[in-house]
């Protein structure tokens, strides 16, 4: 028996989208995300909500090893979104990353093209916690001065990878960071440095 | 004392009421029924279906009634409705070779299998107003045609030419999904399928003018009407879960196959080239103009210089849609007074500077 999707498809999708939109418009500032979903583990309610709100037959989705290993996850996403799953990170419109610590190098995902930078992959991370006001220092569009956010866990060489991502602007990936009940954005336009305490 | 204008809502409501009155006209005259429009304004209905990209004669007739006979407005109503329809998939390609022809003429052969079928056409009518039509009355039934031995077989002229290799082959179906310009923004250069979609729903007048321009030398294509056929074809759909075609119904189409300018080289024998037109309903003018423009738009593919408007796909595709054109032209009647004020301020300043400068030039001269 498949777990149900949104109880209210129209308004739950809208609410999820608005939280993600606000998150990308204000990088590093976590927004509330009440998914109201109970998807098969290890898919988190937040990853599931974003997939249900934003993916469909037009958006190839890539799953990380932990998610791909559980057939119920693919079945759930296929049933509720109709999105094709892809094995190739470079083909993915969205990538769902349950274990960010073991995320493939960012450069393996679609970076967009100079004529169409919008064709880059959107990565969605499931983190244990997102804490604002400490951790990484962020500057760029959407940020009034500087923002700070701490990711737990933080992937290896994350800051160096993000610096490389930023340096290719307008090409590059956009990251949606989720934690239980929260979502934050790290679009390619954001410059990220290590935070000193 | 000036009081700011209010009452946009009341004005809109009143405008809607006035429109409804104007639509009805003199109530002493009987109201048109949708069936009357569908049956007696059939070519107008066909045009609305063609440019509306929706085959539904009743809906097109109703749209015409609602639009007071304004074609572009009726197309608009049909398109806005079409957008809301669910899509279950794409039909199998219709086989116009199997068309039950009501009319079929070829300009390239005097006679051919299936024969020339004149059918219902204005072509040889003398355009004299028939005052008898002002009085209501029944028309005489048309005479039954003499049956021919080859009736029922009506191969396409281009297929006959292709048997001898005299015309370029129709490009094979490579199985690739066909784009849909109503679902995806056009990315230039657009392939031929997308160009044909745009032309099929393009404004008849615009496409006609472009086609005409190619005949006058702006992208000449040496066209011959290989064939025009009008008639009904079956539409089949293959549901994924069944795997075999299910008939959905029949639609009336007009198809024009132009035989154009031959090409060849030291390595390839000369062959005629093709231009293609297809519309819903009966519209030979549109199908022919479309075929001319289709061929002109193939200039680059066929190694011809792209120098004329009809050969320029960005120009043609960006401007052939009657709804886009009418919307943007007519939007000029919306208030623009904020921008006009900005221009007014600049022009007044520039004029003041102009006269100040010319005054000082004059003073210096005195």
């Amino acid at each position: 028996m498949l777990a149900p999707g949104f109880a209210d498809p129209v308004h739950d999708a809208q609410g999820t989208f608005r939280a993600v939109m606000d998150a990308l418009a204000r990088p590093g500032l976590p927004q509330r995300l009440e998914a109201g979903l109970n998807p098969p583990a290890p898919l988190t309610p937040e990853l599931a909500a974003i997939a249900l709100a934003l993916t469909d037959a037009d958006t190839p989705v890539w799953l990380d090893a932990g998610l791909a290993a559980v057939p119920e996850v693919a079945a759930y996403l296929r049933f509720h979104t109709g999105a094709p799953l892809t094995d190739s990170p470079a083909q993915a419109a969205f990538a769902l990353i349950r274990d960010p610590a073991r995320c493939p190098p960012l450069a393996r995902f679609a970076q967009g093209t100079p004529a169409y930078p919008d064709t880059a992959t959107t990565l969605v991370f499931a983190l244990d916690a997102l804490t604002s006001g400490e951790g990484l220092r962020l500057t760029g569009p959407g940020i009034d001065g500087t923002a700070r956010i701490a990711l737990a866990p933080q992937p290896d060489s994350f800051v160096a990878q993000l610096a490389a991502n930023r340096s290719g602007f307008p090409l590059g990936l956009d990251l949606i960071l989720t934690a239980p009940g929260r979502v934050a954005g790290l679009p390619r336009s954001t410059a990220v440095t290590e935070g000193r305490a | 004392m000036y009081v700011a204008v209010k009452g946009g809502e009341a004005a809109i409501d009143n405008a809607h009421r006035l429109l409804a009155e104007a639509r009805r006209g003199d109530p002493a005259v009987p109201e048109l029924t949708v069936a009357q429009i569908r049956e007696q304004m059939a070519l107008l209905v066909d045009r609305v279906m063609a440019e509306g990209s929706l085959y539904d004669p009743d809906l097109a007739a109703l749209a015409l009634k609602q639009a007071r006979g304004d074609v572009v407005e009726a197309v608009f109503l049909v398109r806005a409705y079409r957008t809301t329809l669910p899509r279950f998939g794409a039909s199998a390609p219709v086989d116009t070779g199997a068309m039950a022809v009501a009319r079929r003429v070829s300009a390239t052969f005097k006679d051919l299998p299936g024969g020339q079928v004149l059918g219902p056409t204005f072509d040889y009518t003398h355009r004299l107003i028939d005052f008898a039509l002002a009085a209501e009355g029944e028309t005489e039934p048309a005479a039954e045609a003499e049956p021919r031995d080859d009736a029922g077989t009506c191969p396409r002229v281009t297929d006959l030419l292709a048997q001898d290799g005299l015309i370029e082959p129709s490009p094979p179906d490579d199985g690739a999904p066909v784009g849909d310009l109503t679902r995806e923004p056009v990315d230039y250069p657009a392939d031929r399928a997308l160009r044909l979609q745009a032309l099929a729903r393009g404004d008849e007048g615009f496409v006609l003018g472009l086609g005409y321009s190619t005949q006058r030398g702006y992208g000449r294509t040496h066209p011959f009407v290989g064939e025009i056929r009008v008639g009904e074809v079956a539409v089949d759909f293959v549901p994924e879960e069944l795997g075999f075609p299910v008939p959905l119904g029949r639609i009336r189409l007009t198809e024009c196959q132009m035989v154009n300018q031959f090409k060849g080289s030291g390595t390839a024998p000369p062959q005629f080239t093709r231009g293609y037109g297809l519309t819903f309903g009966q519209s030979e003018r549109k199908a022919m103009a479309m075929a001319l423009v289709d061929r002109a738009l193939r200039a680059e593919e066929l190694g011809e210089p792209v120098a004329s408007p009809a050969q320029d796909q960005e120009f043609v595709l960006a401007h052939c849609d009657s709804l886009q054109a009418t919307g943007f032209v007519e939007h000029l009647k919306l208030p623009h007074y904020v921008d006009f004020q900005a221009e007014l301020e600049l022009v007044r300043r520039l004029r003041a500077e102009f006269f100040r400068d010319s005054d000082s030039v004059q003073e210096a001269a005195e």
Partner: protein
């Protein structure tokens, strides 16, 4: 209903047999599940019933279209000033009349939003009234004329005078999104120019104005550079409004329906009007205060009062003007 949930179906107003076509205006109930597929077409005359907006999805667009537009909006925010192509739908209002802004608003709008719609700065211009009604009927959301109360403001040609705040969204209706269009009409060319950040021709054009007129002759749709990268058309707002875009706390979304483009400026983002060291960017100034509320430093409409040349200048932003008058500010009421 499709098992995947990707085809939200809703009946049309014309084929609404059995859908209870008598829904009153503005009472569209949010549905928890999409309605059943439309009844099969019927021949003949029975379809010409009074349309009922109750048959349409929340905010008119189907969910698949909203998803497509939402994805475009997210990429637009991630690449500020870049024009994201999107599959603009044919809306029940004409191209050129706000179909892009309407689609963006429909994709963003939620039940808790409060919507304001202005055209030329005014809430009561006919097209603003028409679009506001469209959303009131199809979504049932609250509408307002007050800038401070709105969460989403759809606009044509103006940015409100009242400073916007965090959490507000300004949706611009855009006719020609391509700032380079009048220098290079071909999309294939302009796309390359943006890819290479090759904006020299724009500077040349502005400088030609200076040599001919002594001033930059662009007074509205004045090009801006966003976040130091893309040159962007701010929509045909007067250049008076350009400074309001720079580091605005509000999110700015731009929708061009006919041209099928969406672009965005996130909050707190640099928006610089193109200019030259010896010809710095300057906005329009009006010699007179608003005759109704006495406001200075705002954009004014010029009203012709008679055929003898008498005119009066009043606020273009009607809400701002009404708010000031409610606070006791009075203008001279005089013609000039």
């Amino acid at each position: 209903m499709s098992a995947t949930g990707t085809h939200e179906l809703f009946p049309s107003p014309l084929r609404g047999g059995g859908r209870g076509g008598g829904g009153a205006e503005g009472t569209t109930e949010p549905r928890s599940a999409p309605p059943p597929p439309p009844a099969p077409p019927r021949k003949g005359e029975e379809r010409g019933r009074t349309p009922s907006e109750a048959g349409y999805n929340f905010a008119y667009l189907d969910e698949g279209t909203k998803r497509m537009i939402r994805r475009a909006i997210l990429k637009a925010i991630a690449v500020p000033g870049y024009q994201v192509p999107f599959a603009s739908r044919e809306m029940p209002m004409p191209y050129g009349w706000g179909t892009g802004g309407v689609q963006v608003t429909a994709a963003v709008l939620g039940r808790a939003d409060v919507l304001k719609v202005i055209d030329q700065g005014a809430d009561d211009t006919t097209n603003a009234v028409s679009i506001r009604r469209f959303f009131a009927r199809t979504s049932g959301v609250a509408t307002t004329t007050r800038t401070t109360e709105a969460t989403i403001i759809q606009t044509r040609h103006r940015i409100p005078e009242t400073p916007l705040r965090e959490g507000q969204i300004l949706v611009y209706q855009v006719p020609i999104p391509e700032p380079l269009r009048f220098l290079e009409p071909r999309e294939t060319e302009t796309r390359q120019l943006h890819a290479l950040a090759e904006y020299g021709s724009m500077h040349v054009k502005l400088y030609e104005d200076i040599s001919r007129h002594g001033h930059i002759a662009t007074t509205y749709a004045y090009p801006v550079e966003v976040a130091g990268r893309y040159v962007m058309d701010p929509s045909p707002t007067p250049k008076f409004d350009n400074p309001k875009m720079d580091h605005s706390p509000a999110l700015q979304l731009f929708g061009a329906g006919r041209e099928r483009r969406i672009y965005a400026v996130p909050p707190y983002t640099s928006v610089r009007s193109l200019d030259f060291e010896d010809h710095p960017f300057r906005v329009q100034r009006f010699e007179h205060p608003c005759a109704l509320c006495g406001a200075e430093g705002v954009y004014l409409d010029e009203m012709l009062l008679d055929d003898a040349g008498r005119r009066m200048f009043v606020c273009s932003d009607t809400d701002h003007c009404e708010g000031r008058r409610a606070d006791g500010h009075v203008g001279t009421g005089e013609a000039v």
